[in-house]
Structures are given as structure tokens and as C-alpha cells.
Amino acid sequence: MTSETGSNVEIKIVPVTPFGFPDFRELLEYRDLLYFLIWRNIRVAYAQSVGGLGWAVVQPALQVLIFSLVFGGLLKLDPGDGVPYPLFSTAAVIPWTYMSGAMSMGSSALVSNSGMLGKIYFPRLIFLLNPTLGGLVNFFISLFFMIAVMVFYQVEVTSQLLFFPALVVLMVLTPLGISLWLSSLTIRFRDMRIMMSHLIRALVYFVPVMYPSSQVPDHLRQWYIINPFVGIVEGYRSCLLGEAMHWDSLAWSIGVALVLLITGAIYFRRMERIIVDVI
């Protein structure tokens, strides 16, 4: 009757304490569950669809097509430095698709799983890690589209590409930090749910996805770059297209992401146990 983890497990259940960090060792114990949940979401999302994971490429491709027709073709928007608009757009649409998706799914993760919250215990953080890490699968598949566009426009790869892994990490951590805050707030204030979709839709105009950030007036840039998504999107463009890195916006991104993550983790840990009683 010995289970594999041995019987030396000791769990102490006490009332909620105001400060502390999530139990990362426990999280590690549940990594198989995280794996299966991510896998489930992918399976279910593409169940009975012929295209399957191919949709991960089609969705951003359509977005780029629309942006290119409207902004590149109709409004004749020039990204500068002789970069063709579709290339310019793809480099931003792909990380933005991931981030907006991770943010909206992560923020509603607790509400949409509230049924399970009351029935079974496992680290609640898994609900948030599921969309944030699960979304990466789509992200990496959509990179094939990015590569195709880069090959088509014969982009020369520079040593800037070495920043790519670091940008992926930053791209994951920022929506995660926001989800940590919003997911538990959404449970308590249902208003947040309605606001979230509007916020994300509005946010795209404050991030240089459709237009180059050089269009933002210089005196406003110091405010503009506080938005952590600006640094990430600019970073992707620089890294993939070989432009100079924008260190000012990137520094803000890193700073804001860290603050959101640390405060979010503390807040989430306090709220994760209470939410069942508040739902």
C-alpha cells in the first residue's frame, strides 16, 4: 500500500494568510495535470474540424491580409525603412494574437471553471497556466506563417534573432501577470468580465500592431511605452526584421511584467482559496 510519492506527505490546512507566494513545489507535483489540460484544450478546440491545427496559421494570416488591404493598400500606411506592410504587420500580429488570447482566456479562467473549483482541489494556478502555456502551441505553429512571409520578402536574418527566446518569455509572463490579477477580480466583480472584452479590443489601438510606433508623437512616447505590450511588439519587430532594438520600451515591459507577476502572485494566492465561497 505504498504510493509512489510515499506516505511522508504532510499537508497543513490553515485559514487564509494575507501574504505569501504560491507553492511552486506543489505546482510541480501537478505538472502532469497541466499537460493533460493543455492537451485537452487543443484536442477539444479542433475536435471534428478538418483543418485542425492548421487554423493556428489561417487565423493570423487572415488578420494580416485584412490589415494589409486596409492599412497598407487603402490608407497607404508606410512602416518606414522600406519594410513592406504585410511583413511589418505579420511580425506584430503573431505575438499580439497570442497575448490577447492568453489574456482574455487567463482572466476568465476561474469563472469558466467555477464548476470544477467547488468539486476538487488542485493548485488553482493551473487554470491560468493552462491558457498561457497552451496558447504557445498555436503561437509556435503560427511561426511557420511568419517564416513563410520572411522568406517571401527575402528578409536577412541578423544576430538580433538571438533575442527571440527572451521575447517569448516576456510575451508569456506579461499576460500571465495580468491574468493573475484579473482572474480573481473577475470572480468577485462580474463587471470585469464585460469590461475585459472591450478592454482587449481597445488595447490593440494602443499597441503598434497596425501602425508603426514612429507615428506616435515624440512627446507622447514616454507615456506610450509604459504599456508593456508596446515593448514586446517593438521587440519582436526589431528582432525578426533586424531593426535597432528599442531599449526604452523593452525596459518598461520587463519592469511592468515583473511588478504584475509578483504582486499578482501574492494577490492570487490570497484569493484562490476564498473564491469558492464568493462564486
Binding site: E4, R40, V44, I120
Partner: protein, 442 residues
Amino acid sequence: MNIIEVSNLSKCYRIGSPSDLNAAESNKFIRLLKGPLNNYRKYKSLYTFTEAELSDPKPRKDILWALRDISFAVQPGEAVGLVGANGAGKSTLLKVISRITPPTRGSVLLRGRVSCLIEVGTGFHPELTGRENIYLSSTVLGMRKREVDRKIDEIIDFSGVEKFIDTPVKRYSSGMSVRLAFAVMAHLEPEILVIDEVLAVGDAEFQRKCLNKMGSVGKEGRTVLFVSHNMAAVTRLCDRALLIRNGQVVLDSSAADVVHHHVSAGTDDPTFREWRSLDDSPGDDSVRLRAVRIVNESGSQISDPVSSEPMGIQMTYDVLEEGHLLSPYITVVSEAGIDLFSSASQSDTETTVEKNPGRYVNTVWIPANLLAEGTHYVRVVMRSIKKKSRPFSERDVIAFNVIDHSEFGPGASWWEGRASGIIRPTLNWSSEYMPPAMILED
């Protein structure tokens, strides 16, 4: 060393206070402005309690103590039943122990892995195949992937849905998915198993399979916490039980003792009811019910009927007026509220001869080997035939537990799912034999 230690555990909930509703109409505008702030305070107060509120000696209207100062310890290998009425706090206690909801005060120490079965099929997704759902549900319930890898064949085998194991669960019948879900649960290997009313789903045969599997769980030395309204199941599965009333443990004793206490609501014996005063007794001016009891063959009162022996339900009533055609009958009702059968006296005089004033004692004999195991309730009714009325009709006037010790009973381990059904009569079988030569005609 104790495997579960619960110390001074309390859990409070904030319940709505009527003060919000009483605000005057004129304040409406101000209240609208203050709305968001008040809402915020209200939400916050849902889960925060000040020390002053908690230690207030007077009972407060806005705080519900779902659990109050509960302490107990469980030894490894013990099977402990939690017994109590609805809303007594049993489920809250399980939810705190399984870490679904935090305690307000006090603590729980668990020395081992816990698996919590509050619902059948937790984590199941209809789009996934049976095999995929086994992996998903097992990991949700706390297993590691390599443990599932090792047991998957055994689980599939136990579930009995091998043929459909690679078909999406949405195409399963509900019975099939329940069987699959239970197969997963039955193969968990935690040190502590927490079970809440899972047995309430599924058909009788399935419930029995659950009970048998759980009985074997206990024998393997696993610690079990078990909440159920099925008193027979508690008696058989648990060595010990806690009676919970108003969020407190009022009795910690052997399972049989606690079940008896619970069914008898603490003081009376549920298998016996008597009305000492004529005025309080059910009935009208013509007839009054005075007592209902259970007797054995020799006529003495008993409280623990055994299914292998005949039992009598005895009703005593006083006829007060002349000139009425009075005919009593009884109905035996199962635990699930189903009328099992009704019976009226078969004698001709009952419906044709008026009863003289005086005391009457009627006994209905229930043959041996008719009732299935479980709690049964009795309804006694008096019909007044000429008046076309019912002077009394008493529901649940007594309740009794039948325990089936026979080899066909649910405790029998040699054949899982044996003798299902809400009654278990012993019937005569006839048997004929034909040697092969006689079948092979033509």
C-alpha cells in the same frame, strides 16, 4: 500517529442581512451613488471576519457557523462515517479537509495524499475518448501520468466499456460514462479517501459495486472519510462515525451507535411511537392512533429487524364512537421515498362490521426475506368507510433499518452486484434437466 488531525476547526459564512432592504426610498439616490463602494465592502465582508464578530458570545444573524470548533483525529486505516441531517455541516467539513474551501479558524493536518470524490466524472470532457478521459480524470484526481500508464488496462477492464474505449464519451450512454468514471475512482491509491454521496448516482447494482469496492478499500488499510445518507452503507463500511449537528460533533462513537442515534433523532427510538395523551394523538372524534411498534414472531417489541426473519408492524388505536366502519392499512416506503407496498386487513368483518368502542391492536406480518437492506419508513392510515374520510394518515410514523446478513446480501463479496432491487424476496425456483440426447431431436 494520527493520519488526520482536525483541531478547533471553524468555518463561517456571511449570510444576507435584512438591513439592506429596509433603507428608505428617499435614500435611493444616495445609495445609488454609494453603490459601488458599498458593493465592494459587501464583497469583502463575504470572506473576512473580524475577531470581534467571531468571538461575539451572542449568536449573530449575519454569520452562519457551518462548522464550529470541531476537533477529532483519525488513525491510519480507519473508515470514519460522517452522519447528520442536511445542512449539519458534513459536506463543509469534507470540503475543508479536501482543500476546496479554507477554514475560518483552526487547522487540519493530513499525513498523506488525499483523493476527494465529491462528484462522479470530475474532469470528464464529452469530446474526448474514454481512454483520454481516464488520463484526464485521473490526473485531476491527483494521480501522476506514470501511475495511470501502469493501471490503464486494469481501469478499462473494470469499467467494462473496452469496446468503446476509443470513442468520444459524448456517444456513451450515461450508465457507461458513470461506470468509466467510477473505474477511475476505484483505482486511485491515496492514503486518504474522502467520499461524499457519490453513491447517490447510478442504479442499485452500480451502488452495490461501489460499496463492495469501498469495503475492500478499507481492508487495504486506507483511511476513508465517508459522508452518506445511506445509513446501512455507513454501518457496514465504517468502524466509527461522527454525528454532526449544527456544525458540531455531538457524538463520536461506533458506526452502529451513531447511526442509531441519528435515526432516532437523539432521544426517541424511531422504531417505536406512542401517544400518551389522547388529545395529542392523531385522529378525530371517532378514532385515535395510540402507538406503532415493530414486533418479532413471539410478539415482543424489537428495534433491529433482520431480513431473514418475519417481522410485525403493530398499530394500537382507540375507537371512541360507535357506528363507524373502520379499516386500517399500512404502507412501507423505501429510503428513496418509493412506496414499496401497501396492505389492508383481508378479513371480511373489517369492512362490514362496525367497531365497538375500545382499544384495538392490529399487527401486519411482513414475511422473512422480503425487504432489501436499507432504511424503511412506515405510513399508517385509518379509513372510515361510511364517512369516506381518513381520520388519520401518518407519514413516516416509524422508521427501521433492515440489515441483510444473508449470502445474497450486499455485503456478500463472492458476487459483486448481487441481489439488486428495492425489495429482495425469496422466491421459489423450479428446475428441470434434460440430458443432451433429448435436445438433439431431429
